[in-house]
């Protein structure tokens, strides 16, 4: 890990890569903490949003950038946009969170606690990739396989089926092959599957 840090340090600081990709300056943050105060999940986070900003700001300490990248926070972020709406410096924190997630994925540095969340996202996108739309039934089965939470919501599915909310067969989009190509050129091209 050490050597890896040095590589990162030698190239470009994480904050600068984020800036380049999103145009959002974490450096504007002056640590007022208003984002953390309003974040619905700050209490569950290892580093509430204001601290993520500070980890990025201290670019001369690559180990701090690493902490941001490996944080549980970036995966807990719900993109509810409340931090951005209230930030006195108008920092688009949700966009920074997006960029950090992408970076963590590409560098294989996803926090282990985020595995369920990630499994859900992957199951979701797999469903979209194959059918063009979300096939809820398929996704849930896929998610269960990935997360190994087989018993979760055992009672929910039959009820959904009963009230007509769950279809057993997916709807398929005609432009599926194009969607396949879009996935191939985007997510699949960049992601290193674990």
């Amino acid at each position: 890990m050490r050597s890896d840090n040095h590589v990162q340090h030698a190239s470009q600081a994480l904050a600068d890569r984020v800036l380049e990709r999103t145009g959002v300056e974490a450096d504007r943050c002056y640590q007022c903490g208003k984002c953390s105060a309003g974040c619905p999940l700050a209490a569950e986070m290892d580093f509430p949003p204001s601290q993520i900003m500070h980890l990025l700001q201290l670019r001369e300490f690559p180990e701090f950038s690493e902490m941001a990248l490996r944080s549980h926070t970036i995966w807990l972020c719900l993109t509810c946009e409340i931090c951005y709406a209230r930030c006195p410096m108008e920092i688009d924190i949700p966009r920074i969170m997006d960029a950090l997630r992408h970076e963590a994925l590409a560098r294989n540095k996803v926090n282990p606690k985020a595995k369920d969340i990630l499994a859900f996202h992957r199951a979701f996108l797999d469903s979209v990739r194959t059918t063009g739309r979300l096939f809820e039934m398929g996704q849930i089965i896929d998610y269960k396989l990935r997360s190994r939470h087989f018993l979760q919501d055992m009672l929910q599915a039959p009820w959904m089926f009963l009230v007509g909310k769950l279809h057993l067969l997916p709807e398929r989009v005609r432009g599926r092959r194009l969607l396949g190509r879009i996935f191939a050129r985007t997510l699949k091209a960049k992601e290193k599957r674990p």
């Binding site: 208003k34 105060a37 309003g38 974040c39 509430p48 949003p49 204001s50 410096m89 108008e90």
Partner: protein
């Protein structure tokens, strides 16, 4: 033909150690137009000056060049010497062969040659110098002070005590400003009104001060020493001379439920009112927007009961014209109002109040008579949250700058609350504590250590009401930015200090510049903090930037000292190094074509339009004219003028052109 005298100084050995002064004197004597050239050990000594004086008289010199130290050092000395010998002082120039030559180069021919170059350059310049007379501007020794808060009061009293007349104009019905609304003042916790009201009374009684309350500046023309101001005295609906201030009308007025401005909306007042009991002047005013008579055409109760028949419903605004020599702007500040913080519920929840409202709650003269009770239900608040930086340092919803006074008054508020509600729990959410000032840090420490105010470092995200409590959602960034919630009974926002709503309009009326936040700009951020860029207009107090009381008072006294200095002579004498626009005989009148590109460039609004008219009054042309009272002599207009119709005395086109040529062309004087 020019007869120039050149006087070369050895400056002990400071010059002669590296420059061959004899050679310089010899070279100078060969410069065409030089009638006299000598060197001497100490030119600035009495014998040295005497040499110059003698030579001026004996050799009938038309110009003098003293080759010695920097003109920034001794130019006044030598110009005075010339003047004493009967030569116009502006015909004397200094060639700086010490700081710019002997001290910075080694002893060599090159150094001596450079000294000769410098002398030749200044000789060329002085040949083109013209005799100039100092500019004299008459001064009207009356000051106009705009704004009757503590800064305006202090400035008025200081100027008046220096023996000059003051016209003090206050927009509100009474002087006193924001300070009169405050409860106690930091860091001493003395009662604001106790220290302010004696000053207010002094203003009212001072023989040198004319107070126009409930009045506003209508316009200001003229320049330093010679301003003409028009003041609008708004109709009070009252004959002030007859009114004794008995207060009967204010007691009997049937319209009583108007939010009191003085109590920051927390108390009520009648339609005819005196803003507060200690008001100066203690004469009521009718609020025509709420008075039943003005709204519905009947009532006139006050008129009927007034024992001196002082009520005048048909009174109209009056315009006064006054002549003043100086203006002090002391128009103060305001706090940011309105619902600019929807997430804090300011304006929505009655128990979310601003700092000024808290002052009224804490004030013994306030709507609760000093008892700590919250606005919604009058209960004593058990938990109070103070939010610092509510709008300050907040480019998104408020202002970018730090309002400076909030850290201190928030500590004071928390303290006052704790003193009044001993079992109460005060919390302060803050970002940084800025307590630079005499006894300020100690004061904040006292709030924390002695009074047990809980300081939490973080900004509040949201405030909402739940079951009669205000839920304050914050985080402590010193504890890992963990979110926290406090159920408060009262929330006090330290709302940002901002410029007055009318600040921009007033600045344009009096031609002073202002910053992007509409605070007035000082002439120099460090060295001329009480002057504006318009000569004769000075600044005092929070109209320049948010300030606390001691700072406002200090600046007011500074402004007063500037005014008193200006008024110390009946004429303002200035060096004539100013720009002038060319004037010619008819039919040209001036080479100026009146494009006025110079006007926008002038930092001092010194360029005016002059209409040249024929005998029949017909407009012949409009040309630029430099107001000698305002011009400071920077010469920006000179370099901008295409037709070279503006020139600057002392650095004229001819002078600087001659310098360039002389510096680069070594003539016969060359060695």
């Amino acid at each position: 033909m020019a007869r120039i005298g050149v006087f070369i100084c050895h400056c002990g050995e400071n010059i002669s150690a590296t420059v061959d002064v004899k050679k310089v004197a010899a070279a100078a004597s060969r410069i065409p137009g030089v009638a006299h050239s000598v060197e001497y050990k100490y030119m600035c000594s009495d014998p040295g000056q005497q040499m110059i004086k003698n030579a001026v008289r004996e050799k009938n010199l038309t110009g003098v060049v003293v080759a010695a130290c920097s003109p920034r050092m001794h130019e006044p000395t030598f110009r005075r010497a010339c003047a004493e010998a009967g030569l116009n002082p502006f015909l004397c120039e200094m060639a700086n062969i010490r700081e710019h030559c002997s001290w910075v180069h080694e002893k060599s021919d090159a150094t001596t040659n450079k000294a000769i170059d410098i002398v030749r350059t200044l000789v060329a310049k002085v040949k083109k110098n013209k005799a100039l007379l100092p500019i004299k501007v008459p001064v009207t020794k009356t000051a106009l002070v705009l704004g009757g808060g503590i800064a305006g009061i202090q400035a008025s009293l200081d100027i008046a005590n220096a023996g000059h007349k003051v016209i003090l104009v206050e927009k509100q019905p009474s002087i006193g400003g924001h300070m009169s609304q405050l409860s106690e003042t930091f860091p001493t916790l003395d009662c604001s009104q106790c220290i302010l009201t004696p000053r207010m009374v002094e203003v009212a009684q001072h023989p040198n001060i004319t107070l126009h309350s409930y009045s506003e500046l209508e316009s200001l023309d003229g320049f330093i020493g010679n301003f003409k101001a028009r003041i609008r005295k708004k109709a009070r609906s009252l004959d002030e001379k007859l009114c004794t201030g008995c207060g009967l009308c204010t007691q009997k007025c049937p319209t009583r439920k108007i939010a009191s401005e003085f109590d920051a909306g927390l108390g009520l007042r009648p339609a005819i009112y005196v803003p507060f009991p200690q008001a100066v002047p203690n004469k009521p005013v009718i609020d025509r927007e709420h008075c039943t008579y003005y709204l519905k055409g009947k009532c006139r109760l006050c008129e009927k009961i007034c024992p001196t028949q002082a009520i005048r419903f048909d009174q109209e605004d009056e315009i006064l014209e006054v002549e003043v020599g100086a203006v002090v702007l002391a128009t103060g500040f305001d706090i940011k109002h309105g619902d600019f913080f929807p997430e804090y519920g300011y304006g929505k929840y009655k128990d979310v109040i601003d700092g000024l409202q808290f002052e009224r709650l804490a004030s013994a003269s306030g709507p609760t008579l000093g008892e700590m009770r919250r606005p919604s239900d009058g209960r004593v608040p058990e938990t109070v949250v103070f939010v610092a930086c509510a709008g300050s340092r907040d480019p998104a919803k408020g202002i970018e700058y730090c309002s400076k006074i909030c850290c201190m008054y928030t500590a004071k508020h928390a303290m006052l609350y704790k003193h009044k509600v001993h079992h109460g729990r005060p919390y302060v959410f803050y970002m940084d504590i800025r307590a630079g000032g005499k006894m300020y840090e100690e004061f904040v420490r006292r709030a924390q250590e002695v009074d047990g105010v809980q300081y939490i470092r973080g900004r509040v995200s949201r405030i909402y009401e739940r079951g009669g409590k205000l839920v304050v959602k914050g985080a402590d960034t010193l504890l890992g930015a963990r979110p926290m919630e406090i159920e408060a009974d009262l929330v006090v926002l330290a709302t940002a200090g901002v410029a007055n709503a009318g600040a921009e309009e007033l600045a344009q009326k009096v031609h002073v510049s202002y910053d992007p936040y509409y605070f007035y700009s000082e002439a120099h951020p460090k060295l001329r903090p009480v002057e504006t860029n318009t000569a004769g207009i000075f600044l005092a107090g929070a109209c320049q930037a948010p300030k606390d009381i001691p700072e406002s008072v200090a600046q007011a006294s500074g402004a007063a000292a500037k005014v008193a200095g200006l008024f110390s002579q009946s004429e303002l004498v200035r060096e004539p190094l100013i720009a002038v626009v060319d004037r010619q005989a008819p039919p040209l009148y001036s080479t100026c074509v009146g494009c006025f590109l110079c006007q926008a460039a002038c930092p001092y609004q010194a360029i005016e339009k002059e209409e040249i008219r024929g005998r029949d009054g017909r407009l012949i042309k409009t040309v630029a004219k430099v107001n000698p009272g305002l011009c400071q002599g920077c010469g920006t207009c000179v370099a901008l003028c295409r037709s070279k119709s503006i020139d600057i005395q002392g650095f004229s086109h001819e002078q600087v052109y001659a310098e360039v040529l002389a510096l680069l062309n070594r003539g016969e004087s060359d060695v």
